[in-house]
């Protein structure tokens, strides 16, 4: 059925280079009206740059685009929108302190007066089963609801082509189903969808065609339904991937105990923790899932010591550490790795040596009378670089000069190589290429095999199912009771994650 539809967008020979990186090289593909077309590739393959060119945010160096037969060279997003191209962003396109209607208005060329706009938002949101209150502050919305704001903003402009950048990374499995229903409805109405993802099962179930990018080049075009996920994965990554091996260690006594931990969020529009309790034994990996913004950052802060509580709320090897700061907690044997590499886990403008000192100073004994042992710190940084295969010219370059994957390997190495009894990691492989991700997961499992108690907080369910022995979900600041990972089904996980947020009404209508 795909062949009969008229062509909507054709991309031919697009090349875009940045200093030191060629983001896209001679990329060509075509999308028909009403087609759901996947742009598939791992992190850094050039998917985002490609769609930014289609949306007019970035200009290609060479190559041409045609939209419905006419030359298409949007100089700015407003022009793209005027010609019927709309985009739902993965991050960074909503304003937390503004309300839904204002956010929608900012993405439109000629928005109607606010009252009329609010009415239209309500109408469209009902039509597509995406309930949304136009007067609510976006900062108070869940991740899934925020995405609805973006989708509705696009739909109000009657797009011919809707670009979606990694839309499911912020959704629960149930919310994903609802989104797919909406997308299929749009497709049947003739709207083409360019769907960017690296999740193969999703693409198999949703997309008509797929263009696979690797290192900026098109390596294959295929019909996802006719390929296995494994075949596409190998096209995408270029090599066959090993799944991490689990060394079965002995489960020991409890190393980390958290009981009834509540904490107000220090982050604007953050989620407070409400009565979180769990224990992790030596050699055990506890996976904590949940959609972004349900208290993951706060849980990490509360465990690392950046957010303090009553002493007995957090125990490391039986010692109460809840009222201690990060330094004392590291001394007690707990290390933590926050999600944000640029500015939280690492200081981007500082060298790798300085970043090694950032957390390893305490446990590695790198200070004497308050003076820093820079030679010792450099040796430790070099050790990490070697052990974790960090690609860098040397330990003196600024952290920001490393690619995301390499910096993450360095930061993981920094925490994992301190010989701590308890390790807490938030999003160990976020934005990291597949090879580095596999390596990081393997090293987490190795440390658990050596007897460390590990907590992995992640939004990637596949990752958690791969590494964790026990599994729990953070939902609106509450943690479900941890359960053994073995035997859990996707449906069960979805329900633990709270099903579809704010969808109760629509659910009834559709069911």
């Amino acid at each position: 059925m795909t062949t009969t539809r008229p062509e909507l967008l054709r991309v031919e020979g697009i090349t875009k280079a940045y200093p030191g990186v060629v983001a896209n090289s001679d990329v060509s593909f075509a999308i028909s009206e009403g087609e759901i077309h996947a742009l598939l590739g791992e992190n850094g393959a050039g998917k985002s740059t490609m769609v930014k060119m289609i949306y007019g945010l970035v200009r290609p160096d060479t190559g041409t685009m045609t939209l419905r037969g006419a030359a298409y060279q949007p100089a700015k997003p407003a022009e793209a929108r005027r010609l019927g191209v709309a985009m739902v962003f993965q991050h960074f396109s909503l304003f937390e302190a503004l309300n839904v209607a204002e956010n929608v208005a900012l993405g439109m060329e000629n928005p109607p007066p606010m009252r009329e706009l609010a009415a239209r938002i309500r109408a469209v949101s009902e039509e597509y089963g995406l309930p949304l209150d136009p007067s609510r502050m976006v900062g108070d919305l869940s991740a899934g609801e925020r995405q609805r704001v973006e989708i509705i903003r696009c739909l109000l402009q009657d797009p011919k082509l809707l670009i979606m950048d990694e839309p499911t990374s912020v959704l629960t499995p149930q919310e994903v189903e609802i989104l797919f229903k909406t997308l299929r409805q749009l497709s049947s109405e003739g709207t083409a969808i360019l769907y960017i993802s690296h999740k193969l099962e999703e693409i198999k179930s949703l997309c008509d065609e797929a263009t696979i990018l690797r290192r900026g080049k098109v390596v294959a075009t295929c019909t996802p339904r006719e390929r296995t996920a494994r075949e596409m994965a190998e096209l995408m990554v270029g090599t066959a991937l090993k799944t991490p091996e689990r060394r079965q260690g002995q489960k020991g006594e409890v190393a980390l105990g958290v009981s009834d931990l509540s904490a107000a969020s220090p982050i604007p529009f953050g989620t407070s923790l409400k009565g979180v309790s769990f224990t992790v034994a030596k050699g055990e990996v506890l996976g904590i899932a949940g959609v972004a913004g349900n208290g993951q950052d706060e849980l990490l802060l509360a465990l690392s010591g950046e957010l303090k509580a009553a002493a007995d709320k957090v125990r490391v090897a039986g010692n109460a550490v809840g009222d201690l700061g990060p330094v004392e907690r590291r001394k007690a044997g707990l290390v933590a790795a926050p999600e944000d590499r640029y500015g939280h886990a690492a200081a981007p403008d500082m060298s790798l040596v300085e970043n090694a000192f950032l957390t390893a100073g305490v446990r590695k004994g790198l200070t004497k009378n308050g003076f820093v042992d820079w030679a010792g710190t450099r040796a430790f940084a070099e050790e990490i670089i070697k052990a974790y295969d960090v690609r860098t010219p040397g330990p003196d370059v600024a952290a920001r000069a490393l690619s995301g994957g390499n910096l993450q390997k360095f930061l993981m190495g920094r925490e994992l190589m301190q010989g701590a009894a308890v390790i807490v990691i938030n999003q160990p492989t976020w934005g990291v290429d597949a090879a580095a991700a596999a390596q990081i997961r393997q090293s987490i499992l190795d440390r658990a095999g050596e007897g460390a108690a590990v907590v992995v907080i992640s939004q990637d369910l596949d990752e958690l199912l791969e590494v964790s022995d026990t599994f729990a979900v953070l939902n609106e600041g509450r943690l479900t009771k941890p359960r053994p990972t073995e035997g859990l089904t996707m449906d069960e996980i979805g329900l633990m994650m709270g099903g579809a947020h704010g969808m109760e009404v629509a659910h009834h209508v559709q069911a």
Binding site: T15, A17, Y18, P19, G20, V22, D61, S304, G305, E306, G325, P326, V327, R330, A336, P338, D340, G343, H344, A345, A346, A347, P348, D349, M350, E354, F357, L358, T359, G361, V362, T367, G370, F371, V372, W374, V397, A398, R400, A401
Partner: protein
């Protein structure tokens, strides 16, 4: 138009090249300004930058350099520690005044006792006065999250009124025949900050400035507290993750800069200024902000920058007496220097590219 492109690693070359380039650009722009005022630009620039060091009166003026540079360096080093940590104390002028008043008050209280301990106690009192004045914005920031920039600045105006009150009231010279101003320390040897080596203009303030420069350099490069200061300024969340308490850092940095400004005030009032008077302060607290940036917030750089800025003061006075250049022109000149410095600084972290030279392979 050009485009800016972030460098992967900060440029070492531009880190050091920025201040000289800014100085040269300022000389060019300043020359244009002086020419517009009907002066011979070359003559003015020579009078400011060359004559004080190598000219006819250099034997005297060279000494003046350290006299002016000392307080600038002392204050700027304290400010730089705070600026590095993202703590903006811009009320050093007030802390400088309060240090002078506290120190002078101690000395005047025991007049005319002669005792070796008097001057050291005055030094401590001066540092304490500046520290105390800086603690007001520090505590308000840590307790109430009040903006330290505005509070420290408001306190300059308050300190100036206290100074006026001191010189016409509680510290007024009882034998001054009604004129405002305190007793002159030049006639009170126990409390006087005299020259240790006059040809170089070296008094205790200069010693303190140079020693502080070295100590601050060691603190920043070798000590954990220095690392924490830099970290807090560059990545505040990473600093908290490292285990720095933001409140403690505010108290530490404000305290150091306040105490150093207070010291500078004390050395000035007991030495070159000689007495507490309504206008003994000459804006060193504000000029030190320029010095701190010109020295790239690096203590050793600040020592050099302090001398350069002192040169513009000493040379400026020369230009004022010999060529009739208004004092304000020097102030403009100093302001331009900071502008050029901030502008050229972009090259440390970014490079310029013209759109047609995009690096496609």
């Amino acid at each position: 138009m050009f485009r800016l492109e972030k460098r992967p690693t900060p440029s070492k070359f531009w880190l050091y090249a920025t201040p000289p380039v800014a100085v040269i650009l300022t000389m060019i722009a300043g020359g244009i300004l002086f020419a517009a005022m009907g002066k011979n630009p070359f003559e003015v620039i020579r009078t400011i930058f060359w004559d004080p060091v190598f000219g006819e009166f250099a034997f005297y003026l060279r000494g003046q350099l350290l006299v002016k540079a000392g307080p600038l360096i002392l204050i700027a080093i304290g400010l730089a520690l705070g600026f590095r940590a993202g703590i903006w104390n811009i009320g050093a002028e007030g802390q400088y005044i309060m240090g002078a008043i506290f120190g002078a008050a101690v000395g005047l209280a025991v007049f005319p006792t002669e005792n070796r301990l008097i001057f050291p106690v005055m030094v401590i009192a001066g540092a304490f006065g500046g520290w105390l004045w800086a603690m007001i914005p520090a505590i308000l920031k840590t307790r109430f999250n009040t903006n330290e920039i505005l509070v420290s600045l408001m306190l300059v105006y308050v300190a100036e009124t206290i100074l006026a009150k001191a010189s016409t009231g509680f510290l007024k010279n009882p034998e001054g025949m009604g004129f405002p101003g305190s007793r002159n320390f030049s006639s009170y040897p126990a409390a006087q900050n005299g020259f240790i080596y006059e040809p170089l203009g070296l008094h205790w303030g200069g010693v303190a400035a140079l020693v502080t420069g070295v100590l601050a350099y060691i603190l920043l490069t070798r000590h954990q507290a220095g690392f924490q200061i830099k970290l807090a300024g560059q990545a505040p969340r990473a600093a908290r993750f490292h285990g720095v308490s933001p409140a403690r850092l505010v108290v530490l940095c404000m305290g150091i800069s306040g105490a150093l400004a207070g010291l500078a005030g004390l050395f000035e009032v007991t030495g070159p200024a000689g007495q507490i008077s309504i206008d003994f302060n000459t804006g060193y607290g504000f000029t030190a902000i320029i010095v701190a940036f010109l020295g790239r917030l690096n203590p050793l750089g600040i020592v050099l920058a302090g001398f350069l800025m002192a040169l513009t003061y000493v040379g400026g006075e020369m230009a004022s007496t010999n060529l009739g250049l208004p004092d304000a022109a020097i102030q403009v000149f100093q302001g331009m220097l900071l502008f050029f410095l901030l502008a050229v600084d972009v090259l440390t972290n970014y490079r310029f590219r013209l759109p047609f030279s995009v690096g496609a392979k």
